[in-house]
Amino acid sequence: MHATLDKESPFEPRLTAFVCNWCTYTGADLAGTSRLQMDANVRIVRLPCTGRIDPLFIVKAFERGADGVIVSGCHPADCHYTSGNYHARRRFAFFKELVEFLGLPEGRITFSWVSASEGQKWREVVNDATARVRALGPFAAYPGTALPSFPAASPADAAKGAAR
Amino acid sequence: MNLYEPYLARVTDLVDETPDTRTLRLAFQEPELARTFDFKAGQFGEYTAFGAGECTFCIASSPTRQGYIECSFKTVGKATTALRSLNVGDTMGFRGPYGNHFPLGKMEGSSLVFIAGGIGLAPVRSVIWNALDLRDRFRDVTIVYGARSVSDLVYKRELAEWAARPDVTLRQTVDPGGETPGWTGDVGLVPAIVEKAAPSAADAYAIVCGPPVMIKYTLPVLTKLGFAADRIYTTLENRMKCGIGKCGRCNIGPVYVCKDGPVFTAEEMAKLPQEF
């Protein structure tokens, strides 16, 4: 997706983090107010609860150019809504197994529990995830539909599209 | 030329007709096209809100008013919501004009009876202004227009204008319960008001647009008044994508609404399968 990146500048991945409002977002905020140094590759999307994070959010993030995704929320037993993170845990267990079975490399999606007091842990999650995705390289999994997109301009391409 | 590429047009004006209905006026950006674009009352187009898609409406302005076209629409889906979010100066797309039209030429020298319900006034408005701009070519002009409530009446400024004209008979009505204090029009459903207004069928044409149920109950009234089925015109609103007879979506039995329509006589409608 970033095939046009300047050869001289090393690849810097873009990561999207879906985090719960009560624990991880506060933890990330703490990391910030504590002036912890960390990679600046992550854009945070705040949601009420990990239970609100539909796996389609992650798919959409990749569609729109993310190279990696972080999903993070309250530790088990700490959910603001009692059981949202337990439900999310099962759902993401299925999701993780599914996308890996489809061939998505393991390191592109990171799941973590980060509490409101764990600013330090958030820094580690972010730095580790960024390093993993940096090593994996850009997510270029949608050839032909990346910008600018004119696939199937010739019948041969069309045939490829139809027959593949 | 790729048929599916729209012309670019700029929104030059917008009017909120009702809380959920808006009229956009658009002018083509290509000067040559803006000068030469022509259409006939009743024809439709595909309007683009870029990023959301296209939607199909009849052109609501009159072909006698050159230099712009207008569309009026209710916000119901993705594309109409996006169209509604456009401001004056924004760019939208237009493909058309497509389809057949009201045969106004054939109606010259006759009386015209316009009957519309709700947003159904949009295509009729095009013919009304077309006829009024050529007023001396027609005999009596009668307009019966109804909506659910006073706030659902579209083109309020124009209704006032028509009401004030001595050469137009306008009956406005709202459904029972839809009236407001000070409402001076009729209260009652459109078919009943048509019956009450009893426009003469002598050498007259009727143009009827509105919700299917309104059309269904208005047609017998017109028949009773003496209108022949081949002198009653309406438009069919079917879901379309291409507008040019390819995408297969607007078929009603053997008819391609986009090419054989959208204007049909009551006589033609009666022969169609009841699948609209």
Binding site: K60, L98, L102, D128 | -
Partner: protein, 274 residues
């Protein structure tokens, strides 16, 4: 009941039958060609079937799990349908094929089947035939794929999913795709792009498989309906393995057993979470 949904001889193999006249009930058959799951015909979307009246449906043990699933998820009242069960010794993959049941022709889901007796049924007919052959080709294929490098696996699925034309036959033929309006048909916002390009196809197949996690009753109709032979059963089966290995859930025709996605345990495995 006013209509019995069963199987009959068709011009090519057996096919679904809708019997409204008791005299025609004699035309109903059950044998190893009765591959189709008839439970999708109970869907309220099938207005043309619903019009026939109160249904009875003939089910194999695996199909009975679909009835149970619909009852579990409050899509169907158990008392609104008469369930006629048939004891099953496995079916062929292709109900129009003329070949007899054999390890080569048996449907991928049958080997090792544990649902041959339809417990949910109001009436069960027939003697228990011998079991289908053991040893799942599908599980072997999954293991093979899992041994590959992710990039090779990705390439395999891009080839397979790349054939998808987004007709959604997999969804329409599925007894458990019961949503009145599928998320893939929603446009505001549009979560799943409707175009059959790699992006849209990936989003759709992830969505379909995931929404069937723990819900899929493994009748194989999605894969059989697919006009371009995408091995959808591999995805369903993979998630069934996860449900079984991680959460101890196996498809069942007991409506009281909760769905593994709707439920949780406090000590569910979470090694993948940092």
């Amino acid at each position: 009941m006013q209509v019995v949904i069963g199987w009959e001889e068709g011009p090519r193999g057996v096919r679904p039958a809708f019997v409204t006249d008791p005299a025609s009930a004699r035309g109903l058959v059950f044998d190893e060609r009765c591959t189709q799951n008839l439970v999708p015909y109970l869907s309220p979307r099938r207005t043309h079937v619903a019009r026939l009246g109160r249904p009875a449906v003939v089910v194999k043990g695996c199909d009975a799990r679909a009835v149970a699933g619909l009852v579990r998820e409050t899509q169907l009242k158990r008392e609104d349908v008469v369930v006629i069960g048939v004891r099953c010794g496995g079916v062929v993959a292709d109900p129009t094929s003329l070949e007899a049941l054999s390890p080569a022709t048996v449907s991928d889901r049958c080997p090792g089947c544990t649902a041959r007796e339809p417990h949910l049924a109001d009436h069960v007919v027939g003697e228990m035939p011998p079991p289908p052959p053991a040893g799942s080709r599908r599980d072997a294929r999954i293991a093979e794929l899992e041994k590959m490098e992710p990039a090779a696996r990705w390439a395999f699925w891009q080839e397979e999913l790349g054939r998808c034309v987004r007709c959604h036959a997999c969804r329409e033929a599925c007894p458990m795709c019961f949503c009145e309006r599928c998320v893939a048909d929603k446009t505001q916002p549009q979560w799943v792009e409707s175009s059959p390009h790699p992006r849209g196809n990936f989003a759709w197949h992830v969505t379909r498989a995931l929404h069937q996690a723990g819900r899929c009753i493994d009748c194989g109709e999605c894969e059989r309906a697919c006009p371009v032979d995408i091995p959808l059963g591999l995805l369903n089966r993979k998630l069934a393995q996860v449900a079984s290995e991680q959460f101890g859930h196996v498809p069942t025709d007991d409506p009281a057993v909760p769905s593994p996605v709707g439920a949780f345990k406090k000590d569910d495995p979470q090694e993948f979470i940092l």
